[in-house]
Symmetry: C3
């Protein structure tokens, strides 16, 4: 099954990437490594705002991080032309908007990590850090950045 | 126009890099990738202390992050001998000292991102994440780290 | 002196790495770069919970970050089979669980940085960022991730 067949099976439609809201670019390829900007979680096209430990439930986290992951896939597709050029997801860094009392950042981040493994299989399994941040751009509840290795 | 002519035009004098205050080194080159330590924002040679949402205005952020960026350029110059060896700025990670109510980390981070594009042109355009952190070493208001690809 | 002789001299026993608690893997090798997941500080096999500025003393930080570093060494050993395959520690990112008043993240992070230099010598000296985060998975007081260059 190709990556695109898998996306259809999961009923995922890749978004048309939107331009960064600030002075940066979505991706840069250096050698075989594609560096991808942090993508905030969105819902209905807007920043999914909120903070765990304040006004969000842990259960919402998996979906929020999954949404950020879907947008990352859209950016990868646009940058590479073909997602099958992804050899391996090399690293994820997940920033989880957290009040000081919230200690389940890893469960939130799973939403992005599981998506990448569903879509890419073993090539989607990656090392990761998940951390609780004080706040994020546009109040977003989660932001995810990644590095991918591209077929040479 | 060379990078150094551009720096003169922008009236930027590269600082003499100071030694890290802790047990690390400024840069390491691995293959063609130069990894650079996080640089805190300074003013008049000292940590520019403060936190957005508490005691700083968003407008100050661009200058603070620009100052960190200038120090990064000084470190790149020292590590490489010649800034024209920078092929591409590959990745920025911007840590913005934020109270929980501040949601404009991207505007603060622009100070560093814009500087790199002014100095390096297209080679300075980079992917980026900007996040709100609870606090930074020496109370600094912003810290920026980067990865650069070097001409082989 | 080999890396393993050095570990014996330092009376460090490498832990048996435990499986990640969430949907990720400990390491991925891309080209010559080994990306390693964030490792939280543990004590007696459990998350070393706490936050600086709230309930921990700075002096405890060096040991906590050192513990995370020892676990990272265990993961490197498992991934590579032989720690002498590490050519250079390329980058560290240290997340320090911090109340807003704590500004000595760099002193905490030194615990991991110094360990790597004790064990690997010059090959262990690395660029680094140390930042104060709002909270970490399982309430851990510190989390450290790294990138290492491997002998080709």
């Amino acid at each position: 099954m190709t990556v695109y067949e898998k996306l259809r099976e999961l009923k995922i439609t890749l978004p048309e990437p939107t331009a960064p809201v600030a002075a940066f670019v979505p991706t840069v390829l250096a050698g075989n490594l594609l560096y991808v900007s942090g993508h905030i979680a969105k819902r209905a096209g807007k920043s999914w705002a909120g903070q765990w430990g304040s006004d969000l439930l842990t259960e919402e986290g998996r979906q929020a991080a999954r949404n950020a992951g879907i947008d990352l896939l859209g950016t990868l597709h646009q940058a590479l032309g073909d997602l099958s050029r992804v050899k391996r997801i090399v690293k994820l860094l997940c920033f989880v908007n957290s009040a000081s009392c919230f200690t389940e950042q890893h469960l939130v981040a799973n939403g992005a990590s599981e998506l990448l493994q569903e879509v890419f299989g073993l090539a989607g399994a990656h090392p990761r850090s998940a951390i609780g941040v004080a706040q994020l751009p546009m109040g977003s509840c989660v932001e995810v950045e990644l590095v991918a290795e591209i077929q040479s």
